[in-house]
Symmetry: C2
Subunit: 635 residues, 2 copies
């Protein structure tokens, strides 16, 4: 009973009973902007082919060939390397949803053939657990067999939705059947789930693609089973909280442990809620979201404060240089927030998606599309640089699949309404219901300018997100006249009328430079500020500010100047602010601590102009120090 309608959405909640918003198919949205579309072109033309080469060069594809007996030799790399192939396939599939590409299709088909051939007769598929390790299948649940399976399922659904092909979907359902036959609460089945959550949301999506309810039941089992101590031991070397196994999800109220694990679990649980509607699950997700966003999130939207365990920290534990903020965690946050947005249609989730995309996901990728950050610190001495690949390469294909599927995040529909979540030049053709297909276009230079012109036709409500950052008041006019709608920051403005051809909505989201302060319990940000403008977080980098130690900068209170520099790193709005360099006084050269003595304060120094650029662009030029948080010299 496969749903064969062409190209459904990335996360297909079209028929989920407990959602407010309905997704829009990927290929219904055309981006034509100067910000995202060039990045997506690089993703298609540079990133995906180069990642495929890495999959070959590092033996990740050979592992499949080895598993099917085509080649010999040893398994190569980390035990969960299969997942990188699957994530790349998902990225490629969403890219093919935009239009055919024979070279990419050739790579995709070749990879799928290797995967097909490597699957065991019983449906099991994991190239690490073949031959010498076949007997160890399903013995250590932190070796990510279900995690890899989940990425296979997501890739298969993407490939099916993008191309209509059921080749990879057949592989996926055979493996999913094997898992659902083997694991579950029933007597006679194994009671276990993977240490690294991922299969939950994948099984729900496989249910959505195939209509097979047993996959949804399997997903629900994985969410429910965690946190009941039935696993018998902590995963690996870590505490149970590392894998969110310290308590049932419904009892949790703090985001803890490995950040990507946590966020994938929350995403899966949101998917389960969308289908099942269990209130306690949603309430837990709300509590966790509140804790995360008010106590444990970087100003970039980045998540994960600790290198050890790649984990969330305690409340207010947000070190800047040692921020872990894995790129995958930012991506997972977008995934979770997208699901929460769909459940309730609340702007705060879309606000965080926007903020995270610009300021926490994008820094993970170089402007050339071939270098990646795994960790994304908010201060650095110039030694942290992007790498072309990693032994543990989860982040690169994760960025690729997010960029490939990005157009799906711009709009949603609900009964009689079209929702605009993100702003970018381009057009969309949105099916509001069986009888109404709506054409919508945006003209804007967002994120550099907050002016957005929208043209639409039809009778329905247009729900326009007024970003939370737009604290100085948005303005919206229809055909040059005022509208009566509420325009509160952090909400959707509802504009209901019969839209006629030529109707134009002009929205203005003023983008003054904002000085942002941090909760005073975050000790190392005390008396410091970060600069933002519109949705973008800014920072200072050594190359723009030669000859000054960035640690010494004390910002003045004067209004920064704002200038668009079209030649700089693909074009960006640059800020210039007045600051005084205030180096530590004499006496600090040879010690860390000293008795406080009356002193005259920092020597008065001449003020200097400091240049700040968007944080996403850091480390794309010569290595040098950088920082987001700067000392604040104005009262």
């Amino acid at each position: 009973m496969l749903d064969s309608s062409p190209r459904p959405p990335v996360v297909d909640t079209s028929r989920s009973p407990h959602v407010r918003l309905r997704p829009v198919p990927l290929d219904a949205v055309d981006l034509a902007d100067d910000f995202w579309e060039p990045r997506r072109r690089i993703n298609r033309e540079v990133t995906l082919p180069s990642q495929y080469r890495h999959l070959e060069d590092t033996g990740r594809l050979d592992n499949f060939r080895r598993a099917s007996g085509k080649i010999g030799g040893a398994y190569q790399g980390i035990y969960f390397n299969d997942s990188d192939v699957y994530k790349w396939l998902e990225a490629a599939a969403w890219t093919l949803a935009e239009g055919s590409d024979s070279e990419l299709e050739r790579m995709v088909d070749a990879a799928i053939t290797e995967i097909e051939d490597a699957q065991r007769p019983d449906g099991y598929l994991n190239t690490y657990f073949t031959f010498e390790r076949a007997a160890q299948r399903w013995t250590d649940f932190d070796l990510h067999e279900m995690y890899c399976a989940g990425h296979l399922f997501q890739a298969a659904v993407a490939h099916f939705r993008a191309t209509g092909s059921e080749r990879l979907l057949d592989v996926a359902t055979r493996f999913a059947d094997h898992i659902c036959d083997s694991f579950g609460p029933e007597e006679g089945k194994r009671h276990a789930v993977d240490g690294l959550e991922e299969v939950e949301m994948a099984l729900v999506e496989l249910f959505r693609a195939t209509g097979e309810r047993r996959y949804l039941v399997g997903a629900q089992y994985c969410v429910d089973a965690r946190g009941h101590g039935m696993l018998g031991r902590p995963y690996g070397q870590h505490e149970p909280s590392y894998s969110q196994d310290h308590a049932p999800l419904r009892d949790q109220s703090e985001v803890v442990g490995h950040a990507v694990r946590a966020l994938y679990l929350y995403s899966g649980a949101a998917d389960v809620y969308a289908e099942m509607g269990e209130r306690a699950l949603l309430q837990a997700l709300w509590r966790l979201w509140e804790n995360m966003t008010t106590r444990r999130m970087y100003v970039s939207g980045g998540l994960g404060s600790r290198y050890e365990g790649e984990a969330f920290g305690r409340d207010f534990e947000l070190p800047n240089e040692r921020a872990y903020t894995e790129t995958c965690a930012a991506i997972a946050s977008v995934m979770w927030n997208w699901r929460m947005l769909g459940l309730k249609g609340e702007a705060r989730y879309a606000d965080l998606i926007e903020h995270t995309l610009y300021n926490a996901v994008l820094p993970g990728l170089s402007l050339d599309g071939q270098h990646y950050f795994y960790q994304n610190p908010l201060a650095d001495d110039g030694t942290h640089r992007r790498q072309p690949w990693f032994g543990c390469a989860c982040c690169p294909p994760n960025v690729a699949r997010l960029l490939a599927s990005l157009p799906g995040c711009l709009y949603s529909t609900s009964e009689d309404a079209v929702w605009v979540h993100l702003y970018a030049e381009g057009a969309a053709t949105v099916e509001l219901d069986k009888n109404r297909t709506i054409r919508l276009s945006q003209r804007t230079r967002y994120p550099w300018d907050g002016s957005v012109e929208i043209q639409i036709e039809g009778e329905f409500a247009l729900m326009l997100r007024i970003p939370a950052w737009c604290e100085d008041g948005a303005a919206v006019e229809v055909n040059g006249g005022p509208v009566g709608a509420q325009l509160s920051p952090g909400s959707y403005a509802s504009l209901r009328r019969t839209w006629r051809p030529g109707d134009t909505i002009d929205m203005d989201l003023p983008m003054p430079v904002r000085r942002v302060e941090c909760h005073p319990y975050v000790a190392e940000n005390a008396e410091r500020i970060a600069l933002t403008r519109g949705p973008l977080l800014y920072f200072v980098e050594q190359i723009d500010n030669p000859g000054v130690d960035l640690r010494d900068l004390v910002l003045d209170g004067e209004e920064p100047t704002v200038r668009f520099e079209s030649d700089l790193l693909g074009g960006m709005t640059v800020l210039q602010v007045e600051a005084r360099p205030a180096a530590p006084d004499n006496g600090w050269e040879d010690r860390l601590y000293r008795t406080v003595r009356p002193h005259e304060g920092d020597a008065q120094t001449h003020s200097t102009r400091v240049t700040a650029v968007p944080y996403y662009a850091w480390a794309n030029r010569e290595p040098g120090a950088m920082r987001v948080w700067l000392r604040n010299g104005s009262p």
Copy 2:
């Protein structure tokens, strides 16, 4: 050619050619003070017996019985668990050096018997690498075979020096011979050293105890071999710097990697220098010491900023709540500084020994002598509590051996001089040379009071350490009259004369409360102060300050009051300071970040009296928040 003179010093540099100071035997010093001696009594009467029970209960002694075939079953615990038995034996041996204790001797002899019986015919001894793992000996150099060997050698030397028995020394020399036969730069020998340094200083001490120069050559090899890439791979999962293997020691200038590894290496290198006198080695140690103390050390003297890798951080990376500051690292710092002090007789090393003992080692042990910290944070929410034991139990017996050997750190001699490093009530009988044995006594309430009365006899220079913390001027009188000596903080005052019976030196080290600030590049200590008095670091703990969030405290500039409370936790001087609680203003409840708006600053609140107590005493009462660094409200 064993040196059978009774009870030589703990680190016996009596005949080392390249030292300035000569050590004093452990049993030449009698402590009779109210601070250390009660702790040492608890160490003897409570800590050592309880640790022996843990060695039994956790299978650490059974591992030896298993290795000798007396019992069956599996090896228990971590692969380097033998080292805990050895470290306990060393602690017990130094305790026996003070006087006999039949119960302790019984435990020591029983443990030695098990060790003797477990040694292989070829001299090899490691209970992890027996039977099923015998073939894996010396295959993975991060499994700590040499590290365990080193602790065996140190225990053996201690037991020999304390008791004159050669039982354990015979085991040690057989194993040392096996190692020196197997490893070295010569062709035909294996070229490898342990990932975890320790055998270096142990081999030097074994050379000092036995006169066997090959052990010194072996130690030199271990120091020299590191950092030449000959190991072929990073140790374990870590970068080469984790084990200080990134560069030859002589080329290093930053303390990096696992802090205990680093400090044990520096200690071993200092021992090698003491014997060999190679200038480049000493210069490297100076550079590393400068980097550590001026860039990478906590105000407590604690070392190691990172949980991941138990490692030093970058310059100025000193998070308070996530401080790792392993108790073993503080102990290792005392060991290294003791060796540096011996090389040159510079007060800065003794200053740091004192500071580290009071403020970084002691917090690792509960007042009841049976609970231990592995990590020693400088701020906490009340959840970090001492444990009775650890799976990786390096710290508990390390504290025990340090307390047991502490009297050896009070004095040294040099030609014609007696050096007083630490102040504590008690007496010593010091052999200045063959013809002169000097009787010296201290009367003092140190560390609570800086008044020290010293009585001595004989013709020689008395070198009195004027602590670096004594910034307000020390005063020294002899028989009530002034002395002409230089009394600079952080130096030794030299008082040379013919001391006659009844001669009395009165030293006064004023102990005002000091407010200490931190280098401004340590971001989270900016605008904060720590309170100290004399050698002690103070902190605030919730139990003494009910009803106030310690994060909100802003200290006033008024002079604290100082009061000795004899009933509090064994007696301690308590500080009371004026502070204003300044809670974050409204609007922070539901967010982490906000645009800076003009506001009226913290609400003016009534001032309150805050109680601060010595940091070593934290977490000995009911759980609660604590912090060392407090916001400073005075200009």
